[in-house]
Subunit: 303 residues, 2 copies
């Protein structure tokens, strides 16, 4: 952080609602970049430090919204957002809302309607980094909704981090966010479960990591190599020339049996075995493993 906190008249004014850990980091970053900043938080004293550094504290959410062409929302969720903004409805007319709190695509769609009824334009966003990373190199923010709202407020959005507009569908930002976390947790589980499997024979995690993470995964499941197979998913072509789902099902049965024999969790591999088994039952047995994508695209049979 620099000590230069004076606002720059060439920077566009921004309003921010919500000063939790993420909101505080957003506010500090916007101030540091010279944006005239108006703040509102349910507990007003949370803004004390930021006011000392040049931010303006609004007494009400309506006053805050009225102060800037764009209002960033960083509240606990959609219910809180509606509760806070309903009394500010008159001020919303002609202004833009950029909501960074997480929800579902359905909630993002509902917010578009709600905002439109109050004369405001709505952009949905997702912060892909923890609070200390906001404004730092490598910080990525996802946005979805009207492109012209994104373009109009690109300057303050760029101050926060690399802004990516994913499309006009307002649900896309939170959906991408959810999907990437899904992949993150699944990958972590794969590593932890595999480590538990060798750990059952007394192998330290550190020793397994040398071979599994230092060689096998980068060699066989390199992220860039997966990306090169993405067109196959779009085309629905899964040629079983090198390996087939039948063979993969055998391997997954083997992994499940070994997990049971070694006395560790077997629920994780068993689910994978069941999914591969269903894929074979649906006629994908001669295709390659990526054909399980066809099953993932459908709702779970017995939820």
């Amino acid at each position: 952080m620099t000590t230069q906190r004076s606002t720059d008249q060439h920077r566009k004014p921004v309003t921010l609602l919500g000063l939790g850990p993420m909101g505080l980091s957003l506010a500090q970053t916007l101030l540091r970049r010279g944006h005239p900043l108006t703040l509102w938080n349910r507990s007003p004293e949370k803004a004390d430090g930021l006011v000392a550094e040049g931010a303006r504290r609004a007494r009400t959410a309506a006053e805050a919204v009225a102060a800037s062409p764009v209002t960033l929302v960083c509240l606990a969720g959609y219910a809180t957002m509606y509760e806070v903004l309903e009394p500010a409805a008159a001020a919303l007319e002609g202004r833009s809302l950029v909501n960074l709190c997480s929800g579902t695509p359905a909630e993002a769609h509902a917010a578009v309607t709600w905002s439109g009824e109050r004369g405001a334009r709505y952009l949905d966003g997702a912060v892909m980094v923890p609070p200390p990373m906001v404004g730092e190199p490598g910080a990525v923010f996802l946005y979805s909704g009207p492109r012209e709202v994104f373009d109009e407020h690109l300057e303050p959005l760029t101050s926060l981090g690399d802004p990516r507009h994913l499309g006009e569908d307002p649900g896309l930002a939170v959906l991408y966010n959810t999907a990437m976390l899904d992949m993150m947790y699944t990958t972590l589980n794969g590593w932890l479960h595999a480590t538990a499997l060798v750990g059952s024979a007394g192998v330290p995690a550190r020793q397994f990591a040398e071979l599994a993470l230092g060689w096998f995964m980068p060699a066989v499941v390199d992220y860039a190599a997966l990306a090169r197979q993405a067109p196959d998913l779009d085309a629905g072509t899964y040629p079983g020339t090198l390996n087939t789902l039948e063979m993969n099902l055998n391997a997954l049965e083997h992994i499940t049996r070994t997990s049971q024999e070694q006395g560790i969790d077997s629920a994780h591999p068993r689910l994978m075995k069941e999914i591969a088994g269903r894929a074979v039952a649906e006629g994908h047995g001669g295709r390659n493993y990526l054909a399980v994508y066809e099953l993932f695209k459908k709702a779970t049979p017995h939820p």
Copy 2:
């Protein structure tokens, strides 16, 4: 492949049982490297091409085993190995077996006893590459069992690929192999499920891959970064300073709900949610996500 096929008297003789796709590739590689090679296969004609290139065909498994100090076994499984080797028991005395067929750690342990009763020493192995990669740069072979057997036959083992001795416990090679495949399938599922999630809103796999595999995963779940956290698993320390399992459980509930709302598979995230929920119930809620390792190390409650 070079055309130089003449055996080299300085290279140690090797016997190979089994000429499936992997056995054929092992045999070609050993011949290419100049090892005097004796072959046996249930269908003898499978050896025709190799005999033309300088290999010797044995009429029985016993004759094959008697021809070399070390016999590589590449048969369909342990049952087949016992069936083939039982009539060769007399020839096994004083010789070494290196078994490359896959099984469970328990099967590897039983094979040590079986071999010992017949005066043979036993090394278990796992081939970590597909047949065309045998002998190529980057080919890795895992071995476990007596170190002196590994050292004694290091020359032919090195001809096949980079040989890694994992320890004296004969079950380690197949256990590492199983664990790495476990991690591979789980990671693939994570990618495919996440792609199905954004796909529910019409996002092509290729477009999602750009952000998810081109930026997010390498930035957040880089394999080298995971390896640096392995000592925490060994120490059982999971400091919840940046994120806690309670927060992760919220995220996993959100992923599960979104999967249901979007009409795609929800079994995959639901299992992750259940595991995280159990971890919180067992008192890990204030620790970080890696604490689910403690649950994976234990047998599934209701298998």
